[in-house]
């Protein structure tokens, strides 16, 4: 057992790391949000001298702009929509998979879990590029789809560089983050509970709806949070496989810092996004704490 002082000493380096690389940058970002944009990018000097009097350049203009700009609002809504769709699809696809892995014999379970994790062995970018080939204009998939669409008399479509491609990639990238927490939850379930529910008159489906599903809600919430939160800030995927109509809030933030060089607008957008994510986490947290009895559900 470590004594309290030793525990504190051990947590010093991680704490220092978080303070330097998370807390201080966040404070800088908040500070920048109140600054005025510089003429040539970055921010204008904090103190400027006009007519021999010093003037402090702090403003709420960036906030006003962000809250009134329909363009930014649209990007937020789209990001939310993409993330919700991604989360729902990951849940629908991931739940049966997680269930199958949890119920399979020990021998196969490890192999199946390995197959879920294997994609992480290659770079995220490589995997998105792979989808660019799969969905690209010369791909078999695109050819087949256009054949089908063509037989019904519709004009041919491009799968790549579309919202469809963005969502497909988001689902693909995030699916393991749904499967793993769900698996961790389902694997702990006591099979006797299902036997008991069948014994007490519930069919297979009723047993799932009344017992397995409610007991897996903590896993569903954890997986959904792990998928939703990174999805909403994603900017690489829309940039690589999306078009102008599928840009997300992450793209805007990147543009404000790197292309438009309007750091205050970028900071304000980042702050809003952080607050949205925090708000969602809070709602999820409250919901999770309301699930009475579930804490003790797993042996």
């Amino acid at each position: 057992m470590l004594r309290l002082n030793e525990k504190r000493a051990l947590s010093f380096i991680p704490s220092l790391y978080l303070v330097c690389l998370f807390l201080i940058p966040t404070l800088i970002m908040i500070f920048i949000a109140f600054r005025e944009p510089g003429d040539y990018g970055g921010v204008a000097p904090l103190i400027s001298h006009v007519d021999n009097s010093a003037q402090i350049n702090l403003t709420l203009d960036s906030f006003k702009f962000a809250f009134t700009s329909s363009f930014i609002g649209q990007l937020f809504l789209r990001s939310m929509a993409f993330s919700i769709i991604t989360t729902v699809f990951c849940l629908v696809l991931g739940y049966p998979l997680a269930m199958m892995i949890a119920k399979s014999g020990k021998k196969y379970r490890d192999i199946l879990l390995l197959m879920v994790i294997i994609p992480f062995w290659s770079s995220f970018l490589v995997r998105v590029y792979a989808w660019m080939i799969i969905l690209g204009p010369n791909s078999g998939v695109n050819y087949l789809i256009n054949k089908i669409v063509g037989t019904f008399g519709y004009p041919s479509v491009n799968l790549l560089y579309s919202s469809f491609a963005v969502v497909i990639c988001l689902i693909y990238i995030n699916l393991p983050f749904m499967i793993l927490p769900l698996y961790a939850n389902l694997q702990k379930h006591d099979d006797t509970l299902i036997e008991a529910s069948r014994d007490l008159g519930a069919t297979r489906l009723q047993s799932f709806l009344k017992v397995t599903l409610p007991l897996s809600l903590p896993g569903v919430l954890a997986g959904s949070a792990l998928v939703f939160i990174p999805s909403i800030g994603m900017f690489v995927v829309p940039e690589l496989v999306g078009n102008n109509c599928s840009l997300m809030i992450g793209n805007l933030i990147k543009q404000q810092f790197l292309q438009n060089e309007n750091w205050p607008i970028g900071s304000v957008t980042s702050i809003i996004m952080t607050l949205v994510v925090l708000g969602i986490s809070l709602i999820v947290g409250i919901f999770a704490s309301r699930l009475k009895g579930l804490k003790y559900a797993n042996k």
Binding site: D190, T192, L193, E195, A196, S197, R198, D199, L200, G201, A202, T203, Q206, K210, V211, P214, L215, L291, K292, G293, L294, K295, Y296, A297
Partner: protein, 367 residues
Amino acid sequence: MAILEIKNVTKQFGGNLVVDNISIDIKKGEFFTLLGPSGCGKTTLLRMIAGLVSPDSGQILLDGVDITNLPPEKRPLHTIFQSYALFPHMTVADNIAFPLKMAKWDKSRIDAQVNELLEDVQLSQFKDRYPHEISGGQKQRVAIARSLVDRPKLLLLDEPLSALDARLREHMHMELVKLQEETGVTFVYVTHDQHEALALSSRIAVLNHGTIEQLDKPDIIYSKPKTHFVADFLGKCNLLKAEVLATTTDTVTLRVASGIEFSIKDPASSSYQIGQIGWYSLRPEKLKLSAENTFDATNLSVIKSKVNGYYYYGNDTLYELDLGNNTKLQVMAPNHTSDGVKFFVDNSEIYVAFDPEAGNFLDTSSC
């Protein structure tokens, strides 16, 4: 009238014969116990009745209806699991209401029935608690209430008391018997605890290696065990090598532990052969000890022996005697004197007497 008929049921797991051609008729309103060591097939048999395992061959009839291939939810019976299997995300009341909701009862009828059951098991004030908020004994009672709430034809109990401590277990014994008598529901009880089986059951089937060793009333099973296994498994028993010296139509003369000879009544005696070797079983409490040979030798067999050691149990003392030739004899002596117990100390010479009729000859072919 048989409410449950098990006909030639067999089950294998990976080439392992777990239940081997078992047939049992269980009467309506009976407290029937399947007793045996772990791995004897008793739980598998219970799970086949519940529909959680399907038999490889054979038939199970409930109230005359073949339920062999019915899914568990279609069978008018319930199981109480060893772990209780209460739904952790539901309150006590919701747990008890579960079978009624599945059977689509009206809300008002469900509430009335649940409240009645809550009163029966004295848990009314705990109805809104979750399973993790109540004690083991209370969980047990919730499990019982949940399983009896829709008055099933049969209640299967899979070692339901094994998770409770000894005092609570004894209390639950009485509660279970009372509940069974009040509700009239037929109980099929699985246990490896012989005391529990003897105390609760109207009949017991002793199982070993997937077959029934003996099926009878508790007192018969205990006092007239049919096989070496039953004698050994239920309570303490002296099993002495015995040789058949002579037989008549209803008596057999034995030579036990190379020396003691006597005749006992035995309806199966005509099937024995002279010179056949078997076992003579004798419960330790059927023997009497004395420092002096004051026994009446007309009805009793008396042996001179030596105390090897003793264990003090409080209400009685178990002596281990040496009969020579590596044969040990256990004697349970009640400590009923009003003053302190006086033990026969180790290595002291002692006389031990028993009525030969108190024991049984066990044919080795039935081992």
